[in-house]
């Protein structure tokens, strides 16, 4: 169990009711939220180890018989808490659509081809310094029926555990310079511009491998302990 966690700065997380994202209108709670204390259940959580990883869990280009179509990318970064301390041994789950913008999911009706060599899910544990690396292909943009001519910017979905249930985070990572970002109600549901910038990866020459793949850096910041660490 960790000590009490700091409240994120105002504007960091979206409001539950964000009418530009139409589904929130029915699904946002109709009653006000009540605060729960940070008890022993809230401040603890499951801890996963390598037994939950599977073959090619961190390389989404090698999970099928052949190589997927698309632009190969290496995505790497660290998971930190908001005190700047690394979070080792924390589980990340990853999922995304293929390079044509289609998910390997029975409910995805987008008229774009499935790629027989791409499923689009992975898992990775951070190392002792909180670092993770995955290899994948750049996902495509895809249309959705939120409003006329609505398109999601290219994004990768991430789920992170941290060490307690109150650090649990599900988010989406975007790519720098994507012209669709300005039009996307989900990306723009985050009130703070600085927080929105947090969800955009940074192109990184140092991660780029010659003749192989472009590199992007993306760091995650989870809630940290309120007590200022002595240093």
């Amino acid at each position: 169990m960790t000590s009490a966690l700091r409240k994120p700065a105002p504007g960091t997380h979206p409001n539950l009711l964000h009418p530009a994202y139409a589904s929130t209108v029915a699904r946002a709670p109709t009653q006000s939220l009540l605060a729960l204390p940070q008890g022993p259940g809230e401040l603890s959580g499951p801890r996963f180890d390598a037994s939950v990883l599977y073959k090619s869990h961190d390389d989404l280009t090698r999970q099928c018989a052949g190589e997927p179509l698309g632009e190969r990318i290496i995505l790497s970064g660290r998971v930190l808490d908001d005190n700047g301390d690394p979070m080792p041994n924390t589980l990340l789950e990853v999922w995304q659509c293929n390079s044509a913008g289609r998910y390997h999911h029975h409910r995805d009706q987008h008229d774009a081809p499935l790629d027989p060599n791409f499923t689009g899910n992975g898992r990775v544990l951070t190392d002792a310094e909180g670092r993770y690396t995955i290899t994948t292909i750049k996902p495509g943009a895809y249309p959705w029926r939120n409003h006329p001519n609505a398109w999601r910017p290219a994004h990768i979905h991430f789920s992170l555990f941290g060490t307690s249930m109150l650090q649990r985070l599900i988010t989406q990572m975007y790519f720098p310079g994507d012209p669709l970002l300005g039009y996307d109600p989900i990306f723009n549901s985050v009130p703070s511009e600085k927080a929105r910038e947090r969800s955009i990866a940074r192109f990184d020459w140092n991660l780029t491998k010659p003749e192989w793949a472009l590199g992007y850096e993306f760091n995650f910041v989870l809630r940290g302990s309120e007590a200022t660490p002595a240093n």
Binding site: P14, A28, L34, L36, P46, M165, T171, A195, F220
Partner: protein
């Protein structure tokens, strides 16, 4: 000076294959876990009362003796993940959690869904538990406390 947190975003509609987990609906696969075996089941509805077929819950609780999984990697006993079906229903297999000090037995529940831009966190308590009367959270929620109670249905099912 603290860093800006990574913002939450909706889990979207197509999470099932990315988040599949076995045995997600069994919180304590070890048959020797202390506690009375129960099935917790229910329906997720939206703010207008319609069932939500594309949601999932994560549950976290101590075993029947009030002990949480040890805080070391590899101990995820007491954690589970269950997806709603086409009618918005979920089912989890677990044990009745032990009390935590003055807190009545409860399960921490985190809800994710398409259309939810961030998760919702709540607790599930158990109707008929004597310790409910002294629980500070149930007391503070007033008339809405009843929405936190799972009701027994037969010997081992709670709804």
């Amino acid at each position: 000076m603290s860093e800006i947190n990574t913002p939450s975003q909706t889990v979207g509609p197509f999470f099932h294959y990315g988040l599949k987990w076995e045995p997600g609906e069994h919180l304590f696969p070890d048959a020797k876990t202390p506690g009375r075996r129960i099935v917790l089941t229910g329906t997720i509805t939206d703010g207008q009362g319609a069932p939500v077929p594309d949601a999932f819950l994560e549950l976290w609780q101590p075993d029947g003796s009030g002990r949480f999984g040890a805080p070391v990697p590899g101990s995820c006993a007491g954690w589970g993940r269950v997806f709603t079906d086409n009618d918005g229903r979920y089912t989890a297999n677990t044990v009745l959690p032990g009390a935590l000090g003055k807190q009545a037995p409860h399960i921490l529940v985190v809800l994710f869904a398409r259309g939810l831009l961030r998760q919702l966190i709540t607790r599930v308590y158990f109707d008929g538990e004597a310790a409910n009367a002294g629980d500070a959270v149930l007391a503070s929620t007033g008339a809405r406390a009843a929405t936190l109670l799972a009701r027994p249905e037969g010997a081992e099912r709670y709804v």
